[in-house]
Symmetry: C2
Subunit: 106 residues, 2 copies
DNA sequence: TTGTTTGCTACTGATAAAGTAGCAAGGTGT
DNA sequence: ACACCTTGCTACTTTATCAGTAGCAAACAA
């Protein structure tokens, strides 16, 4: 039924611009379409709508008309999985900005 | 020195097409430019070269002329961080393809 | 009615990615 | 020297993706 390995499928989805950001912005609770828009640097409704459709199809988010767009349980799980990446990223950013070329001698 | 939070910076990088795939293809050891190309579905040298530059700048990969392109220690660490995502993805793919709409009644 | 907010679409312009051809540098073998 | 490779890479063109703007219909409120 699935042509692709699961990891390839999710990497494809998360490689699309704004997808991870949208999930991130929904971390604290539901947001309306327009709230999401302004949370994501006023991205165009064209792209936002497209991404929300992808996220709904992937069952990572859904639209509860009375509350707004919300993460599903799976969406929240994905955020949990991403937490270690945050730790790694902090160490990475510090390390890559402290290289022989850019570091001044002491 | 850094305008962006580390997590935003790495999400930006990993959101670019082929970046994660390239890291993945280097998991087992060095590959030459052309080996990487064919490993990544014959992607154009234009994009591959661009991505390799990004990865070199991010110090996740480097080019050892005698061996080919290789992951740095940080690059390998990133792969480690991604392992849980693989587990999550398998469960996610199974769950999302077993929904009330697409599932036939028994 | 008038006004507001909702999700969303249509249309246009800009940017990123892909496809193809080919080059210069370095090695290898004759 | 020569003709061959493979290397990383660039130039150029086409196509896909993303962004910006305007605005609509539905739902509700004053």
């Amino acid at each position: 039924m699935n042509e692709k390995p699961a990891i390839a499928e999710i990497v494809d989805l998360l490689s699309k611009k704004w997808v991870m950001r949208i999930i991130w912005e929904l971390r604290a609770g539901p947001l309306t379409f327009r709230q999401l828009q302004s949370a994501c640097n006023d991205l165009s409704p064209t792209v936002l709508n497209n991404r929300l459709k992808l996220l709904r199809d992937a069952q990572l988010a859904l639209n509860d008309p009375s509350r707004g767009y919300t993460l599903t349980d799976m969406g929240r799980d994905l955020l949990e999985v991403y937490k270690p990446l945050n730790q790694w990223a902090i160490a990475w950013q510090a390390a890559k900005n402290d290289t022989p070329e850019t570091r001044r001698p002491r």
